[in-house]
Symmetry: C2
Subunit: 353 residues, 2 copies
């Protein structure tokens, strides 16, 4: 607390990201990073940009990347002016909250969801109505058919991993044609179907994605949104009033290459999906209830052991998973899918149960 | 304009960055980039980080970089918790406007200054009182001794290049102990003396810098602020409510190396200073009035030729400089100091005058 702070600052409840421990040899299954590295083509694309040109500003518009993304989604008729890029999907979401979701009426999002949403609401003074997930931790589309200033939810949801079929997403978008519906698809590529397919049908739909998960580039900070050109123009106006160049030359080059190497991306997603099925079975065998997941993590609880205790015991054994001390989910652990060896080590470490 | 935009969005007047032309062989003296490349140690530090670890999130706190900056300014007693880092000084300034300068009273800044300040005011609804520079385009410290919610100015000022001695900066800071005074030192290393030296004397002083100019890393997007720990904590609260990881792994590594290679940095600054003196003399010989500059650019007008006309003629000849179509300075050109060859080409191109 300081007399020099804006009144806003003392009210903020900042987001707390998953721990990034400095210790070596830890098995890090707590921040949903991809166990497989990025495409070698990403590394070489960055290497080609690694020269004296770093003295020059990057392209403030990120044209090459927008073009690569539009061309990746060409089957859905996406054009460059329908793509917005930013420093990770967190920055993209922040601009979405300020530029599209800050309205006179409260926005809607689930009670159990990405915990950055309420933080953005605090930062931009956006009112919200929190909608409880069903008993089985699902989003019920009917709950989003009420007056609102906007709607946002992840699909698959975080930290539950539960996926909602595209027809249900569409039902929510269609029921809210007067407000913006944001589908936050950080984890969509691990078995879900993207709502980008619907963008040209609905003027109120924004689909947000990241390169941190399926494209293994958490360390490079690139996220994007796809929507109709008018919504994207609104986001550009906010971005150009905040920071002209959020993506550096290396991040732009690497991100373009990541979209170009489709094969690497698909192999990597399939690898995670295979391992997810293995981990799910292993956990179930140990007595865990595992929510059906289409993400690169599973959300699981044991009927006889407290989530916090299991997390602590795993940590003793050098494995970090994420535990949220929050109503309804305090018995759950969110476990990132690791490499085959890491997943085997996890199951073995849970022997004590 | 869209019915889906927040009311804020239509009111915004976004910042327009200098042109980044795609044409090759242009002499680009319009965005104050450094004519010399970054230290080779920066390139190799980034290369070492260019591997599978890009799948992992960067350190959200950027500890290594804060440490490198604190250690660079160790003579002024700066510690790590007095350093804030962000995606270019534009992002750092944005957080400063939202977290420190948004107060009940209007803030003060010069009429001729960095044109992003009024844009931030629009984004965060910060009221301002604009203080005219003197006839000779200087900041008069006495003009900043009036009731305010904060003060911000660049030193050297942009786009004039005029520098104010540290005793005058100190006078402004001391006259405003109840509000935050931000000294934006993007160009300080080309001959000025940093106010970081004063940070431990004044709880209300924030000094903001960038690695885009003197450290030749415009393409990497790194900026920082130094202030007392309480102000930095305020900025961290805003940042952690916006985007946990604004600096990617490569930018962090490169920035640390840039602070470690002191020799390269000093040689580069001295090179720019030498060329600046040469360009100044050349322009004066052609009849230009050149404002005294401590930046990596000069601000100059010709008594007999319109600024816009000279800029257009230079462009015909493949040289881009920046012209601002604004009251009081529309006859001026802002010319970035280039390499020796580029500067010679500039003077030669102005032969037509």
């Amino acid at each position: 607390m300081s007399k020099y702070w804006s009144s806003l600052v003392s009210e903020l409840q900042p987001y707390v990201p998953g721990e990034q421990p400095k210790m070596a040899n830890l098995i890090k299954l707590n921040t949903n990073e991809n166990p497989f590295g990025p495409s070698p083509k990403v590394i070489s694309a960055i290497k080609s940009e690694l020269n004296d040109n770093l003295r020059l500003y990057p392209d403030p518009e990120g044209h090459a990347l927008k073009e690569a993304i539009a061309s990746y989604y060409i089957d859905f008729g996406i054009e460059e002016n329908q793509v917005f890029v930013g420093n990770g999907s967190d920055e993209v979401l922040a601009h979405i909250f300020q530029g599209l979701l800050k309205q006179d009426k409260p926005i809607l999002f689930p009670d159990i969801t990405y915990s950055f949403y309420p933080v953005y609401c605090g930062l931009y003074k956006v009112e919200s109505n929190i909608i409880p997930l069903t008993e089985s931790f699902e989003i019920n589309p009917d709950d989003y058919k009420r007056d609102n200033g906007g709607v946002i939810f992840p699909n698959p949801n975080a930290p539950t991993g539960r996926y909602m079929g595209l027809q249900h997403v569409q039902a929510i978008v269609e029921a809210n044609l007067d407000s913006v519906v944001v589908v936050d698809e950080a984890y969509i590529d691990f078995g879900g179907e993207t709502a980008i397919r619907l963008v040209n049908q609905y003027p109120n739909l924004v689909v947000c994605q990241t390169l941190s998960k399926a494209r293994s580039l958490a360390g490079l900070r690139v996220g994007f949104a796809v929507a109709n050109a008018e919504l994207i123009e609104g986001l550009n106006r906010v971005k150009d009033s905040f920071n002209s160049y959020p993506l550096d030359r290396l991040a732009l080059a690497g991100a373009v290459a990541a979209f170009e190497d489709r094969q690497w991306f698909e192999d990597s997603c399939n690898g995670v999906i295979r391992e997810r099925e293995k981990v799910t079975k292993g956990l179930e065998k140990l007595g865990f209830e595992v929510l059906p997941s289409k993400a690169n993590f599973v959300f699981a609880r044991h009927p006889e052991h407290k989530g916090a205790d299991v997390a602590a015991e795993l940590r003793e054994q050098g494995i970090i998973v994420r535990h949220f001390n929050k109503p309804r989910i305090s018995e759950f652990l969110r476990i990132t899918i690791g490499t085959s060896d890491q997943n085997n080590a996890l199951i073995k470490a849970l022997d004590f149960l």
